[in-house]
């Protein structure tokens, strides 16, 4: 049974109005508003993120070397991504342009462990119930338990891959929660041999399970080709980090943006130069900013980030199994890009394979047992860094005064980069699925499926009891509420 709470009320005169129990505008909940035009057709749909915007101010006044630890407070799902991104920015502030091989590989190992486990949670817990059991399957069964009952091995993959990623984080950062690996200019430990050996013992199995998950997902795509191609989909620009040779790069590199045909919009852009290429627009109806490519303007300059963008933007993947999977994936595009929104999931599994392969390579690199951990340099007033977090491009920008205190912080998180794209996916679903003035369970369900493809990071990271429902509201051309539905 669905946990929707709906009361019905009639207003007179005027349209039928469905009213829900009052929902406080608490931080962290998602709100979708569908606006109809005079003809009763969908004019636009907006995905609002009701989120307290204040974490940049939270960082101001902190000592710059504290920041890599403090920023882990921003998100309970991606603390490692913020930890690493802040550390890279503070390397610049500390006057360090290149850290030692041991430090870089320790950070990479932690990063790939984080991306692996986070993508596993998304794919197995959020996506697989929709994909393996079907969009229209009963809500009561469409969850990870339903998946485990239908595909017993998937539950094991989900938990064990996630656990392995957490063990990588613990081995590099001291503990799986609140890890503390990075300091400006390097790291504070190398990889203990006993931890290396324990991870080596499991990594081949992890790669194997990721490959089996890919095959399972490809069977879904084969069986639902049209749905996969068209659901909530549209052509778009893409942006991600790439390596100097065009390889997929999640930890370091330069920005590359491409248009819907795959032509470069810009490439080789250093993180320090991001403001020459990107602009962040504020819109009055949303707490979340709308970044776009400066040269293309707000109407045409929006883009997508995340696993789909990482694969569309790169020339190749530097690990063998993932590269084979990338070629297979790109064949969908017939020589062009892949634009299907549901392809985020396929791309996410390829990213998992790449992460697991990279972790294996690193575990057999003796640099991880090196003892040269930190480099020092001449202090600078500013630092910018970018990593590819599990949900896509994450940017941290700081200015630091003579007292070593942060005076300015600007963060562009992955979900913010995908803001416009999420709106467009929800709009596409509304146009395709809304009939009349009723928010059906089917419409609500499809809106959720579309949002799950991006797996937005909403609350960063409070989650006190009662938070984070999804609220969908239907409005007429004058903005009057026609119907509202809440999914707890």
């Amino acid at each position: 049974m669905s946990d929707l709470h709906v009361d019905l009320e009639r207003t007179s005169p005027g349209p039928r109005k469905i009213v829900i129990d009052p929902v406080t505008r608490v931080e962290g909940h998602g709100k979708v508003t569908i606006r109809l035009n005079e003809a009763g057709e969908v004019e636009q749909a907006r995905f609002h993120v009701v989120e307290f915007r204040g974490f940049e101010r939270f960082i101001q006044g902190r000592m710059y070397w504290e920041v890599p630890v403090i920023v882990q407070r921003l998100c309970g799902i991606c603390p490692v991504s913020h930890h690493l991104c802040a550390a890279k920015a503070m390397d610049i502030v500390a006057g360090v342009d290149k850290i030692t091989p041991t430090a870089e590989k320790m950070r990479r190992l932690m990063h790939y462990g984080q991306v692996l486990q986070s993508n596993a949670v998304n794919f197995f817990h959020l996506a697989s119930p929709d994909l393996l059991l079907g969009f229209e399957s009963p809500v009561a069964q469409r969850n990870i338990i339903g998946v485990i009952e239908a595909f017993p091995e998937v539950g094991k993959w989900a938990i064990m891959i996630r656990k392995f990623g957490q063990l990588v984080i613990a081995a590099t950062g001291g503990r799986r929660i609140h890890p503390r690996l990075c300091i400006p200019g390097g790291v504070n430990q190398n990889l203990a041999v006993e931890n290396r050996d324990a991870l080596r013992a499991d990594v081949d199995q992890i790669i194997q399970w990721c490959c089996e998950a890919l095959e399972l997902h490809k069977r879904f795509v084969s069986a639902h080709h049209t749905l996969h191609e068209t659901f909530a989909s549209f052509p778009s620009n893409y942006m991600s980090l790439v390596g100097p040779d065009g390889a997929m790069e999640l930890y370091d590199g330069t920005l590359r943006a491409i248009d819907a045909a795959g032509a470069p919009i810009f490439e080789g852009v250093s993180p320090q130069a991001y403001r020459d290429y990107l602009i962040e627009e504020v819109r009055p109806w949303s707490y979340m900013k709308f970044p776009h490519i400066r040269s293309l303007g707000r109407e045409d300059g929006w883009y997508r980030v995340g696993p789909l963008a990482q694969i569309n933007c790169c020339a190749f993947i530097g690990t063998p199994i993932a590269e084979m999977a990338r070629k297979d994936f790109m064949a969908q595009g017939g020589g062009g890009l892949v634009h299907a929104t549901l392809a985020f999931h396929w791309a996410r599994v390829i990213s998992m394979i790449h992460c697991a392969e990279t972790i294996k390579q690193l575990l057999f690199d003796n640099d991880l047992q090196g003892t040269d951990l930190v480099v020092t340099g001449q202090r600078r007033p500013e630092g910018v860094a970018i990593v590819e977090a599990p949900r896509g491009t994450l940017l941290h920008h700081y200015q630091v005064d003579h007292n070593d205190q942060v005076t300015m912080a600007n963060l562009i998180v992955s979900t913010t980069n995908n803001n416009e794209a999420m709106n467009r996916s929800v709009t596409k679903v509304a146009i395709d699925d809304l009939t009349g003035h009723e928010i059906t369970e089917g419409l609500l369900n499809h809106i959720e499926v579309a949002i799950r493809a991006y797996d937005p990071c909403l609350s960063c990271a409070t989650h006190a009891l009662g938070d984070m429902p999804l609220v969908v509201t239907l409005e007429d051309a004058d903005g009057a509420v026609i119907a509202t539905k809440v999914k707890q």
């Binding site: 946990d3 406080t24 608490v26 931080e27 962290g28 998602g30 307290f52 204040g54 974490f55 101010r57 939270f58 403090i70 407070r73 921003l74 998100c75 309970g76 799902i77 603390p79 986070s118 949670v121 998304n122 197995f124 817990h125 959020l126 119930p129 929709d130 809500v139 469409r142 969850n143 990870i144 338990i145 339903g146 485990i148 009952e149 539950g155 094991k156 989900a158 938990i159 996630r162 656990k163 957490q166 929660i177 959720e448 949002i451 799950r452 797996d455 937005p456 990071c457 909403l458 609350s459 990271a461 409070t462 989650h463 006190a464 009891l465 009662g466 938070d467 984070m468 999804l470 999914k487």
Partner: protein, 159 residues
């Protein structure tokens, strides 16, 4: 002093979750830290920003589980709810309910620990690493209750 009753035998997990960087959202971790400091061998206490799937492994390894979270609404100083396994599907991975963790522990590991949700009332959730005075008082009451329960477990703790 260690408990001398059945709590000494039952394996108890105290899982406090929340973000200490967000004011009273740190109530769960603060409660877990205080219980951990007791050092009782049959009691495991740890904290997490958010619940996640691997918590099912820890849950499955215990006889009794207390999930401890901050509550935006509800009774002061705290409320207690008996939990049962219930799977669900959210629209973001940034939300995992304790009932879903219990469902995974049950379906995948065959474990059905007795489970409670302790919601400690909080008031301010801004970016600050401190509890409000009122929340601190609620925390003290909740920890007292939890400590008493650990000494003499009851099937249905009084809220």
């Amino acid at each position: 002093m260690q408990p001398a009753t059945t709590a000494a035998r039952a394996r108890v997990l105290i899982l406090g979750y929340g973000n200490p960087g967000r004011g009273d959202d740190g109530l769960g971790p603060a409660a877990a830290a205080r219980i951990e400091a007791l050092g009782w061998p049959n009691v495991t206490a740890y904290d997490a920003y958010q619940l996640n799937i691997e918590d099912a492994l820890d849950v499955a390894g215990h006889d009794v589980v207390w999930f401890v979270d901050a509550a935006r609404t509800g009774p002061s100083p705290y409320g207690i709810e008996v939990l049962a396994p219930a799977a669900s599907l959210a629209f973001t991975s940034h939300l995992m309910r304790p009932e879903a963790i219990l469902a995974m522990a049950h379906h995948y590991y065959g474990a059905s620990p007795q489970a409670f949700l302790l919601g400690i009332r909080g008031y301010e959730f801004a970016f600050v690493e401190a509890l409000t005075q009122a929340a601190s008082g609620n925390l003290a009451s909740a920890v007292d209750m939890l400590t008493d329960w650990l000494r003499a477990p009851a099937a249905s703790p009084a809220s």
